[in-house]
Each structure stands twice: as C-alpha cells, then as structure tokens.
Symmetry: C2
DNA sequence: CATAATTAAATGACATGTCATTCATCTAAT
DNA sequence: ATTAGATGAATGACATGTCATTTAATTATG
C-alpha cells in the first residue's frame, strides 16, 4: 500500500472509532430518557418535518439508509408516533408525532444540548474547526452527506 | 446551541454518515470473499498478532469494544480460527488462525488493497491529508484511538 | 487454609443495519 | 380496459454491537 492508501486506512479506522464512541455516549444519554439513539433521531426529524412518509423520513435519517419500517414500528408501539394511511396514494404512510412523542422531542432537545455542552470543552476549538472544515470539504459532494444537506446542516 | 456546539453536531453526523457508507462498501467487498467486515478485522488482527486471548484481541479491534466472544465463535464454527484453552491460566483462551484462516487472511489483504486503491482517486489528495491531520489531532489522545495506537497505525 | 474479591469468557436480551423478497397500490404502455 | 412495470412499505434472514448477568478459574485476604 502506498502513502495515500495508508492514510485512507487510518481515516477509515478513526472514523469508525469515533462513531462507535459517540454512539456509546449517545446510547447512555438517550437511555436516561427511555429511548435509543436511532429512535431519538426519528423523533427529532418528525418534530421538525412532520407529517411525512417512511421514504421521506429515510432520506433525512443519517443513522439508516433503507426505509426505517421497523424503527418506526417500535415507536408506534410505544405510542410516540402515529402512522396513518395516505388517502391520495395508499402506498404511502403518513407519520407524525403523538402528544407523547412531542413531549419526548422536548426531552431529546434538552439531552442533545447537554451532550454537546459536555463534549465541546473536551476538544480544542481550533482543532475542532479544522476537523469540521476537513470533513465538510471531503464529504460535501458524497452521497453520504445527502441527508445532511437536506436538513440544511451543511 | 452556540456555534461550537452546532459544529460538533455536524461533525457527529458527518462521522456517522461516513462510517455507514464505508461499512456498506466494505460489506459488499468482504461478501465477495464470503465474510463480513467484522470477521475480516478479526482475521486480519490474528494474522498479525496470533496467538492471543479474547481480551487482547478485543483491545486491538476497532469494530467492537467488549470482548468479541460471538464474533470469534462464528469464525471457529466456520473453521477460520482455532480456539484453545490456555494451560497456564485456564480463564484465558488462546486464539490462532487455522490454515483456512491463513488463506482467508491473504484474500483479505488483497481485497483491502483493492478497496483503498478504489477509494483514493475519489478524494482530493490535499483534502484527504487535511482530514487525516485533523482526525489524528483531535482523537490521538482519546480512548477511542487506543486500539489504533496499539496497532501502531497512529 | 478457607473464603472473598477479581478476572476472562460465555450467554441472554435487546435494538439495529443491511439485503432480499413479498405484498399492495399506482402508473404507463398497449 | 387490461396488463406489465414501477414504487412504497412490510417482513424474513443474518450478523452485529452493547449491556447485564452468569460461570469458571485465579488471586488476594484474613
């Protein structure tokens, strides 16, 4: 392997390691409000964009690429999400938060803020900016960043 | 949320998105040689460091933080790994590759090279270097990078 | 020496991601 | 209008990650 390829390997591993660590932190935090990271993302998106179909939801989720049928099913079972049939085109479903889901969305907002507040002091601000710029630069034209663009985060 | 916190959020999502996309690519490639990304990492590590215990293996894996009992069990079942009891301390197991596992390790090396060869041209070299530097800079003193250090990748 | 504390590994439980397949509905082509 | 193709969603299958608990072996303590 040449130099660039070795760098690419390290990038891959660092991204994997960072994702895992972030996921564990988030798992711990979301557990405190009785949900999971993936469920948290779904509720957050629905809070911002409801009503929407499963396909639209999937296109905004970063945590999952396919259509999040199961993820949504558990949220319906737990009473956070209301799933209706779309009258105009019955292939689609219409998803929106229940009152309970709206409540949970507020808790999620507070947990997320706490998380970022806790994380930021652990990183040098300049280095974080450099990482931000580098990540955006490399991935902004990649399909993996599509959902982020749609959500206007980049 | 303040500016830094928003940046942190985007960093988290970009890392998640990149990890997922990388995983899908690797899934596709490793499938062509009949294994999975996680199995590939275990065989690769054993090829370099065998014999070793489950605990040691776990400390070198980036894909999993706990002890990879199940992961190794499936590899034992498929005949890639030999699991013996450590005579001196019978709490430990001693893991090493079977001849079949050694063969697979060669295939993995070739697949990995192909992957990085294919990936590198899709990224601007300068941007990749910037991302590499930023990632190493931010994570080199974090626990998530421990395994990478032990493997002398950073 | 006997027992308590520690440690490595295995296992049960749960939620996920991914892919392939199936089912129902809608659209397009003839 | 009928049928073939396309599309959204649900589901089966498989392999993972994580945590909590259990089991077996070793070490430390009194």
């Amino acid at each position: 392997m040449n130099f660039d390829q070795k760098k690419m390997e390290v990038i891959r591993f660092l991204i994997l390691a960072a994702q895992r660590e972030g996921e564990r932190i988030l798992q711990d935090l979301t557990k405190s409000i009785g949900i999971t990271p993936a469920q948290s993302e779904v509720i957050h998106i629905l809070d911002l964009y409801e009503p929407m179909s499963l396909k639209e939801l999937g296109s905004l989720l970063i945590c999952e690429s396919g259509s999040p049928s199961r993820l949504v099913s558990t949220l319906v079972q737990r009473g956070f999400v209301i799933r209706k049939e779309n009258r105009e085109d019955r292939r689609y479903v219409s998803l929106q938060l229940s009152p309970l889901g709206k409540e949970k969305a507020k808790e999620i907002k507070s947990v997320d803020e706490k998380m970022y507040e806790a994380m930021v002091p652990n990183f040098d601000s300049r280095k974080m900016s450099a990482l931000y710029d580098a990540l955006v630069d490399v991935f902004k034209d990649h399909p993996s960043a599509e959902a982020l663009k749609k959500r206007k985060l980049i």
